[in-house]
Symmetry: C2
Subunit: 151 residues, 2 copies
């Protein structure tokens, strides 16, 4: 059942490449949209990080919910890069996002898959597997930020 859902989620997510440029009313809207989505991603990841690093008490139910929401939110930001002119303005996205779009999209896909895996592993409850899957998500964040986001 879980695998079926992943397959569906991925199939739906792949629709993003086909979204029309101009789905947003302005480049500013698109920038704000992706920034809001990343802020939600960051909140979930940071809270899980705090629990994983014993900065706050581990709450397994809260962690599982964070992982689930992270996997949903991972689908959201990337349409915000499809809009012409959204490489300019109040954005920390580097020009490489648009110059090397295939690589950017591949890294976005790796991030999405890693969050899906974390959400599933978290449901299964094996602490070692959760730690590994959480680390893998962090690596996909960093791997993309290194190349595509200004510090």
């Amino acid at each position: 059942m879980k695998r079926t859902c992943i397959a569906l989620t991925l199939a739906l997510a792949s629709a993003h490449a086909a979204a029309a440029d101009g789905a947003f009313n302005s480049a500013e809207d698109a920038i704000e949209y992706r920034q809001a989505a990343f802020s939600l991603i960051k909140e979930n990841f940071s809270d899980m990080w705090a629990m994983m690093k014993d900065k706050k008490p581990m709450d397994e139910k809260a962690f599982a919910q964070r992982a689930q929401h992270l996997s949903l939110l991972a689908q959201i930001p990337f349409t915000g890069f499809d809009v012409a002119g959204s490489d300019k303005g109040d954005t920390s996205a580097l020009p490489a996002v648009w110059k090397d779009r295939d690589e950017f999209d591949a890294k976005a896909g790796q991030f999405q898959l890693a969050t899906e895996r974390l959400a599933l592993v978290t449901q299964e409850g094996d602490a070692g597997a959760i730690k590994k899957a959480f680390g893998a998500v962090g690596k996909t964040c960093k791997g993309c930020h290194d190349d595509f986001k200004a510090e």
Copy 2:
């Protein structure tokens, strides 16, 4: 396959009621989180509304993606109401959210279901059904805002 995924999504979503108070570091964090989530919901709904009302050209692929993302985002905001003290401060949530929490949660659930239905119907492509499902989403927004959100 789609129904299986809905069942899973709903099962996972129901975990939200069990999330620990204090999953956010502060009431302000929780308020910002739910507001960011609602801003993303609004962007998707508004763009679909513009297409449905001929305010901008209908782009079926973009519409379908919006519908799918709306259904994911509908799962997100409500943990932000679980945090003590988040009824105060920079929020337009009315005290009724906490006073009548069962009703609020029920309306949140109706909204989530309506967005799931819209996402599925949109994939099936029947214009009349899409219009009906879109209207139903709008009603769940209004139905909740009337009772639980300051104007």
